[in-house]
Amino acid sequence: MADVLTFTDRGIYCPAGDFHIDPWQPVDRALITHGHSDHARLGMGRYLATTGTAPVMRHRLGEITLDTINYGEETQIGDAKVSFHPAGHVPGSAQIRVEVKGEVWVVSGDYKTVADGLSEPFEPVKCHAFITECTFGLPIFKWTPQDILTQQINEWWATNAAAGRTSILGAYALGKAQRLLTTVNPDIGPILTHGAIENTNEVLRNQGITLPQTTYATADITAQTHPGALVLAPPSALGTTWTRRFGPASTAFASGWMALRGVRRRRAADRGFIVSDHADWDGLNDAIKATGATKIFATHGYTSVFQRWLTEQGYDAHVVSTDYHGESLETSEASEA
C-alpha cells in the first residue's frame, strides 16, 4: 500500500489529497496543526486550521486565505479523509488525522498529554502510523505536576512581593504565558505583561478564552506604580533594559529545559520552573501506546535516541528530518514552539 504521507523538503505531504501539513516552504495547500511560528508560516496558497487556531494565525500572518474546521469534523480533500483532534499543546492546537483507503496516519504537531487548564486536552487518536514530535524524548524529562508547579510559582511571587521585589517570569508568548496566567493566584498582586504577551492575550480573549486581568506594561508602569507585581515577558526580554523599570526584581524562566541544572545556571535567572507545553518522556511513551500505531516517525527533538528506544520497544520507528524547532535549546531565548 502506498504511504498516506510522505516527507519532502517542503514538509509533510499527502499525495492522495495533494496537501502539506505544517510546511516550511511555500506550497499551494497547507493544513496547520497550531499557530507557533515553526508550524504556521507565511507564503502558502491557502490554509486549513481549527477555529481555535485561526485567530492567532490571522494575527501573526496577516491577510491569508484561511478555512477553519472544528475538532472531530471530517472533510474530504481529494482522496483523503481529514480531521483535526485536540493536541493539548496550546489553545486550538491539533493533531491531524489523515485516512486514505482505510489506512490512517496521524501527525501530532506539538502536543502534551497532561491538561493545562487552558488548552483543549489531548485526545489519543487510533492510527496505523503516528508522526510524533520528541522535543523532550529522553527519560530525564519529567514535568512537575501542575498543582505543585502552581504552588511553587505562587510561593516565589508572594515571597518576592513581601520583600518588595518585582517577580519577572520569562515564558513563551503563545500558550505558556496564558497557561501560567490561569494558574497563578491573582490575589498576590498586580499582573503586568510585555507587549508580545498582551497582544496574544487580546487575541485569545477575543475568541472567548477567559484570562485573569492583566495590565500591559507601558513605559509609565514601574515598581512604584505597581509594587509586588508579577511581570510576564517573553524570555528574550529578560536581562534587557526593558526590565529595569521594575526595580529590584527576582527573575525566573518557565521551560522544560529548566529540568537541567546546567541550563538553569546558564540562563542566570534566580529561579527555573519546569513546565513545558510539550510531552515529557512518560507523556510521549503513553501517547504513542494509546494510538495503537505500529509505525512511528519521530520529527523534532532527540529523534535518533528516541527512534532507537522505540525500535527496542518493538515499533517500526523512523527518524524524519523536519524544520520544526520544538522548544529548542539553542534558540530558547526567543522560541519555544
Partner: protein
C-alpha cells in the same frame, strides 16, 4: 534535608552574591547545629568518604528506572552530571520522610560497613524516599564530588552575618584539619578563639591593567618590578607563629610548609605582601610546577623537592608590630629590603627587585624580556603611594605582556559541563601541515554565550562523525587561540603543549586555508619554549 535542598537551590540558581550570602546566613541562623557544621564542611571540600563506585550507581539507577544502559548513557551525556542524571531518571519517590542532612550523611557512612547487597538496598531505599533535588544531593554525597559556586569567603561572610562575629576571626576558625567528627558547631564557631587576632590579614591592594603610559608623569616617580606568575599571598608573623593568606582570604599556611622557617628569621610583627613561586637556582620554575602544589592540602616529600616554593616579597604592611600601610612605598620597600637581607640565603624568601629604568622606552624593553625571565609583565607602583585596599586606579598598575596567538581550525567539538552542558563549548584545534591537520590544543573559553549557541547549532547540523560525546566537524571555522606559554611535549602529536589556551577571537574573516601551520607553531616553540 529539605532545608539543605532549599539552601542549595537558592545558591545554585542565583548568580547574585548577595542572594547566595543571604540564603546561607538564613540557614546558619535556623538550621540544626550539626547540619550547619556539615554544610560548612561540605562547602569547604570536607566530604564523607566515597563508599560506592560510579559504575554501580549507574547500573542500579538504570535498573530501577527500567532503562537500557545505552539510554542511561545518552541521558548522562546530555545532563553532564552523574548524580543529576540518576536523580532525574528514577521514578518519583514513593514515600517522603524529611530526615536531616546529618542523618543522610550518617547513613552514607554506615553503608561503607555493609555488604554490597545491603548497600544497594540502602541506596535504593534512599532514592525512593527523596524528592528530586534531595535525591541529587544525596547521590552527590555518595559519589564524593560536591562543587557549588560558594567560596570560603562567602561562607565566612554569611557566618559573620548570622553570628555577628568578624569575618577574619571566622576565617581563622574554619582553617585547619577539623571535620564534623572532631568538632561541633559550638566548639568550632561559637567558642572564643583567643589566637584569631594573631592571624588577621590586611586587605590586598590590587592593580588595574595599564591603558597607556602617557598619564603616568615622570618615570622617576615610579618603581617598576616584575609581575610574577604565581599565587599572591600575605605572610603574617605574629606571636611566634606564621600564617599565609591568599587573595581570596584562604589560609594557605599548611600547603606551603617550607615557608614555616621564615618565622625563625623574620621578627614578630611582620606582614609581607608577595607572590608564592615555585623557585630553584634563583629562577622561577614554570607555573606547571606550582600548579602541582595548588589545591593540595598536604604535600608529599617528593613534591617539596621537585617544586620548592619561595615568597617573592613585594611590600611590607606591618613592621615591628605597627601598621605602616600609610607610609610611602619607597620607605616600606627599604624596611623590607633590610629585613630580607638579614635572612640567610637558604631562607625561602626573596625581594622582588626593582627593574631599573630611566625612560619609558627602557621600561618597554625590559617588559619585552618578561617571557624569558618567567614573568607575566611589569608592575608599576608610584614611589610615594600608600598601600590601599581593593582594586584602585592611579598609583599601581599592572603592565602585562600580550598573550601569544595562533590561528587554528576547529576539528572536534564536545558539550561542556555544568553551566554549559547542552552547548558545544569544548573544541579541539588543529594547525595545517601540508594537506593534513594536526590537532595541538583544546580550548573551552573566550567566546560569548551567543557565539557558543551559534556554533552549537552549526555543530549539530554539520557533525561528520560521533565518537562518544565528541563530534567531528568539517574543518571550517578558524579561531585565534591566545596562550601564555608554549612547551615541548612528547605526549602530544603536535609535539607542543600550550599554557592557558583560550579562544580570543572567532576569525570569521579567515578561511581555513589561512590558518597557521605546524611550522609556525614549531617556530614559536623555538622562540618562546
Amino acid at each position: 534535608m529539605k532545608d539543605f535542598a532549599t539552601l542549595f537551590t537558592r545558591i545554585d540558581e542565583s548568580t547574585k552574591t548577595t542572594v547566595k550570602t543571604a540564603a546561607l546566613a538564613d540557614y546558619f541562623r535556623n538550621a540544626d547545629p550539626s547540619d550547619k557544621l556539615w554544610t560548612i564542611a561540605l562547602f569547604t571540600g570536607r566530604r564523607p568518604k566515597r563508599t560506592i563506585t560510579a559504575t554501580r550507581l549507574r547500573e542500579w539507577a538504570a535498573e530501577v528506572a527500567g532503562l537500557p544502559d545505552w539510554l542511561f548513557e545518552e541521558s548522562y551525556s546530555i545532563v553532564g552530571d552523574l548524580a543529576e542524571t540518576i536523580a532525574l531518571v528514577l521514578p518519583p519517590a514513593e514515600h517522603e520522610d524529611d530526615q536531616s542532612l546529618t542523618y543522610w550523611i550518617n547513613t552514607i557512612k554506615t553503608l561503607s560497613t555493609l555488604e554490597e547487597e545491603d548497600r544497594k538496598a540502602g541506596i535504593l531505599n534512599a532514592w525512593n524516599s527523596l524528592p528530586t533535588t534531595q535525591r541529587f544531593l544525596f547521590t552527590k554525597l555518595l559519589t564524593g564530588g560536591f562543587r557549588i559556586g560558594v567560596s570560603a569567603k562567602l561562607i565566612t561572610r554569611a557566618l559573620a552575618q548570622a553570628t555577628g562575629q568578624p569575618e577574619p576571626e571566622l576565617t581563622h576558625k574554619l582553617m585547619g584539619n577539623w571535620t564534623p567528627d572532631t568538632a561541633t558547631w559550638e566548639t568550632l564557631i561559637e567558642a572564643d578563639d583567643p589566637t584569631a587576632d594573631l592571624s588577621r590579614p590586611y586587605p590586598f591592594y590590587l592593580a588595574y591593567q595599564l591603558d597607556s603610559l602617557d598619564d603616568l608623569g615622570p618615570p622617576a616617580d615610579w618603581n617598576a618590578e616584575r609581575k610574577w606568575d604565581g599565587i599572591r599571598g600575605q605572610l603574617i608573623i605574629r606571636g611566634g607563629e606564621h600564617h599565609l593568606w591568599s587573595r581570596g582570604e584562604d589560609l594557605m599556611t599548611d600547603r606551603f610548609p617550607e615557608l614555616s622557617t621564615l618565622k625563625d628569621y623574620l621578627p614578630d610583627g611582620t606582614v609581607i605582601d608577595g607572590e608564592i613561586l615555585a623557585f630553584a637556582d634563583e629562577k622561577p620554575l614554570s607555573f606547571n610546577a606550582l600548579q602541582k602544589r595548588i589545591g593540595r592540602k598536604t604535600v608529599p616529600k617528593k613534591l617539596l623537592t621537585e617544586a620548592p616554593v619561595i615568597l617573592m616579597a613585594y611590600d611590607l604592611l606591618e613592621h615591628e608590630g605597627k601598621d605602616i600601610r600609610d607610609t610611602p612605598l619607597k620607605d616600606r620597600r627599604n624596611h623590607l629590603k633590610t629585613l630580607i637581607n638579614q635572612t640567610p640565603n637558604e631562607t625561602p624568601i626573596r625581594l622582588s627587585e626593582a627593574v631599573p629604568f630611566q625612560t619609558w622606552d627602557d621600561l618597554a624593553k625590559a617588559r619585552d624580556q618578561s617571557r624569558d625571565i618567567g614573568a607575566e609583565g611589569l608592575m608599576l607602583k608610584r614611589l610615594d603611594s600608600p598601600y590601599l585596599s581593593g582594586r584602585k586606579r592611579g598609583d599601581w598598575w599592572k603592565w602585562k605582556i600580550d598573550p601569544l596567538t595562533i590561528d587554528a581550525v576547529m576539528i572536534y567539538a564536545q558539550a561542556g559541563h555544568g553551566r554549559r552542558a547542552n552547548l558545544f563549548t569544548d573544541y579541539t584545534f588543529a594547525v595545517r601541515s601540508g594537506n593534513d591537520l594536526v590537532p595541538f590544543t583544546k580550548a573551552y573559553s573566550g567566546l560569548t554565550d551567543a557565539e557558543f549557541r551559534e556554533i552549537t547549532a552549526w555543530v549539530r547540523k554539520n557533525t561528520l562523525q560521533k565518537f562518544g560525546p565528541v563530534r567531528q566537524v568539517p574543518p571550517t571555522h578558524v579561531f585565534e587561540i591566545a596562550f601564555e606559554g608554549i612547551q615541548a611535549s612528547p605526549r602530544h602529536k603536535s609535539g607542543v603543549a600550550l599554557r592557558f589556551p583560550r579562544m580570543s577571537r572567532w576569525r570569521r574573516d579567515k578561511p581555513m586555508d589561512e590558518a597557521n601551520t605546524l611550522e609556525d607553531l614549531k617556530e614559536m616553540l623555538a622562540t618562546y619554549g
